[in-house]
Every structure is written in C-alpha cells, then in structure tokens.
Symmetry: C2
Subunit: 253 residues, 2 copies
DNA sequence: GAGTGGTCTAGACCACGCC
DNA sequence: GCGTGGTCTAGACCACTCA
C-alpha cells in the first residue's frame, strides 16, 4: 500500500516495492510480475501509475514486457568476455580473434562489412589520426554477430593516403585480415591506446543492435599506432552492455 | 505535427523530432527546450504525451529538467580519463594515483573510508579470491570525490587471513597506501585482471553518486594477484559514466 | 501570480497471446 | 472473448522559479 504521508512519488514507492520483491528472490529471473490490475488493487494506485512504476524498472534493465502476456523479470543474458589481449598487433586481426573469442564460449561469431567509403571523420577521429582540418578519411563499417544476432558495431577509420586503392577501401572481406594487410603496406601496428566509455544508445544503435529498454552501450575508441607513434587506424566499437564484458590483463613488471 | 498514419507512437515521433532539433544544432547544450504547452500546440498532442516524449529524452541522457524553470539540453560534462596504468603494482596505491590523475586534469581528488568490516562476499568475489563456501571476507568501502562531489564507489575485498588485525580491516587511512602495506605483509601484487562492464545504476548508487536520469555506470571488477597467481585482493569500482572514461594503453611487443 | 515541470487519476482504445 | 501490455487524452493538483 502506498503511503500518502511519504513524500516520495507513488510510482517510485511501487517501483521500490517491486524491485525489493525481485532482488529479495520472490520473483526469480524469468518469472512473471503481477499484472497492472493486480498492482492497482494491491497498492491502491491507478493503472497508469502502476505502468509508470513498471516503466522505471524497465529503464533500469530489470524488467521486460511482452504485450498480451505480461511483464517479466529479465533473464541474465549470456555474457561474452572480450579479452583486450586481442589487440596484440603481432598475429591476429580483430575479426579472427572475435570469432575465436565467441567460439571459446560456444557461440558462433560472424561479421558483415556494411560500407567502405570516404567521409569527413568525427573530430575525435581526425584528432587521433592527426588529420588536417577538413581532410577526409576512409571509413569501413562492420557489424559483428553472435549466433546471427547483431551485437556490435565496428567502424574503422584510416587516413586516405593509407587506405586508398587498397582492399581496406572496398566493402569486401580481406582474406588474411586487415592487420596483416596493414603490415604489408608498411604500417605495422605496434601500440594501441584504448578509451572505454559507457552511455545510452542512440536511436540508430537501438535499431541496429536491437537493444532493449534500459540497456546502455559500451563504446571503445581505439587508436592504433605504427612505429614512432604514428597513428594509422582509429576504431570505434559500440557494444550492447548486457551481452559484453571486457577483460584487460595487466601483467606485473 | 504528429502523423496519425505513422504507426509509431506519438510520444516517440515527438521525441524523435526534438532529438533531431537538438542534434541538428537548433538547441545547443544548455539551451532551454520548448515548454510542454508549446510542444502541445506545436505537435498537436496532449500534455502528458509531450511529457512522455521529454521523459524518453531524459532516459537517453540528452535532456535534464528543472521544476519551475524548464527542460534543458544537458551540458557536456568534464570527463576524467583514468589511466589503467595506475594498477602497476610497483609504486603507487590506487588512492595516490587517483589523486594524481585528478590533479593532472585540474581537479581535486579526495576519498572517504566509509566502512571496514567482515561480510559474506558476493559470489563472484568469493570465486575470484578462491574462498571456500560460506567463508567471510574483509571489505573496505571507500567513496572517491572530485572537487568534493562523490563520483566513484570502491569496495576492496580481502581474505580474512590477509587483512585481519591489520590496518586494512580498520576504517582509517593507511599512511603509505594499501599497496605498500600489502607488500610488507608478504602479498606483493604482481598481476591484475580487470573486467569492465556497464549497466544502469541501482537505487543506492543513484543516491550515493547523485547520478542523473539516463546515465549508466561503469563497473570495474579487478582481481589482484601475488606471485604464482595467488589472488590477494578483489576490488569493485562503480563510476558514473558521464564523468569517467577509462584509458588502457597496450604497448607493442 | 503566472508559467513551468512533476505527478496522479479515470477512462478510453489498440494489438497481442491464449483458450 | 478475455486478460494482458502499450498508448493516448483531459483534467487536476503540487512545488518550484521568477518577475
């Protein structure tokens, strides 16, 4: 029952009560929550208030709704741990190790190359690649899939001088991997900086990765450098946070 | 104007339109958005629908509301880049380098030690520390501040055998740093594994870190190991994602 | 006091799942 | 056909800001 003497909003009181019943174990992952009419009766609020309470739980990623069936406690998703060791520039490209990391966890990794074209790069990319103002870059956009579901967007940016005329600038698979090709072209990557951030997805990302309500994305901004710190590639990865986890191993010195 | 022939919900059409006007530059960060009555008139929807549209933009972290004043495009927040090099086990503890990283960006870092006690650790922590079932651990809970604002929660878990009777188990500052103390106690850290995830904050975290609507948190799970891979400490960091960015540098081999 | 955001309600309609 | 979630509306009240 909602207390009228509590100054907190009713929908929040109801949300808190339900959240507690979930975390307390009364409702396990996969269980159906009380229907709106039940909440209405049980807590003495209007339907729309009950709906708002449920909506805040959805925004927290705790609950998901299915029209005509009910609201359910969200299942724990399988989590793929991506090891950052894959950036080691020596042997593998991102793609090879992406597939390997997925296979390790019993999942099938695949990718599509959606586009390869010249664009005006975002300013952070231009900065990272040390491109003069207004200069274009080659972008190569890929989507990564796990068991056929799109889970990651990967955009690679190259200075035009590096990618132009090579397979990097065409929307087709690169047989031995982009890493190997870069090395052959004289841009062997020897060092990476990786910046990790989290935020709510854009509408485009929600669409492309079928991200559920209340699930953030992890954004990785990676700058790859050849000898003497010369930046040769800049990648932006966007991963849905409920399916990924990053692993960084920092060995002792 | 909302189209009745578009099957997408009206609140979403309005949200999209406003989002576009924001990203298109019509409303710059800090600008006030149209009031609900203006939206009502302009798009031909009910007030509550306008409110719902604005609420979805808030959930995306794009907009923030101030009762009695208006809704505003959220300002870009200063972002603190935390370099993961700080885990290098040789010289510094987390605290020293936290303060240094903040100072580098012109901010004042501080911390409070909120609690040091024995608890039943979360199962991931028990696993990471290889504790037998049901065994307690010493937890040391800290809050980190930037310019006086709480921005990060840091919980360190130790096996009881390591921490009991030492300063680690007391809620007081450790003069030369926890790292140094660990080393003196014969548990010099030589290796770390770090797992990075993102999710929406819990109610407690919203409260403790005054996290705004629509802002996720970054959670770092760090396992520190002494010689021969023996785990000696397990830390959980929770950072509000709008103020932090992690940096990992991966040197070539 | 006028305008603003924040909340709440009652009542309505739709689409979907299931029997 | 009934119960479910999802959406929309009109109208109400409160707290806050600002002139």
């Amino acid at each position: 029952m909602v207390s009228r003497y509590d100054r907190r909003p009713a929908f929040e009181q109801v949300a808190d009560a339900l959240r507690e019943r979930i975390t307390g174990g009364e409702f396990a992952p996969g269980d159906q929550l009380p229907s709106y009419s039940q909440i209405e009766a049980e807590y003495g609020v209007a339907v729309t208030t009950a709906q708002r309470a449920i909506r805040t739980l959805k925004a927290e990623g705790l609950v998901e709704g299915h029209a005509g069936k009910g609201n359910y406690v969200r299942q724990e998703r399988k989590i793929v741990t991506l090891s950052a060791s894959f950036v080691k520039p020596d042997v593998n490209g991102t793609w090879t190790t992406w597939r390997a990391a997925a296979a390790e966890q019993g999942l099938k990794g695949s990718q599509s190359i959606d586009e390869a074209t010249q664009v005006a790069p975002p300013s952070e990319v231009a900065d990272a690649l040390r491109l003069p103002d207004g200069e274009l870059a080659v972008v190569r956009r890929r989507t990564m899939y796990l068991n056929g579901e799109p889970v990651q967007l990967a955009d690679s940016y190259f200075p035009v001088g590096i990618a132009e005329g090579t397979a990097l600038a065409r929307a087709e698979r690169i047989p031995r991997g982009a890493s190997a090709l870069m090395a052959e072209l004289g841009h062997r990557v020897v060092e990476c900086d990786e910046f990790v951030a989290a935020r709510m997805p854009t509408a485009r990302e929600v669409q492309a990765l079928s991200i559920k309500e209340g699930v953030p994305v992890i954004e990785i901004f990676r700058v790859s450098k050849a000898a003497e710190g010369r930046p040769v590639e800049c990648e932006i990865f966007v991963l849905s946070a409920d399916r990924h986890r990053l692993k960084y191993s920092l060995p002792g010195c």
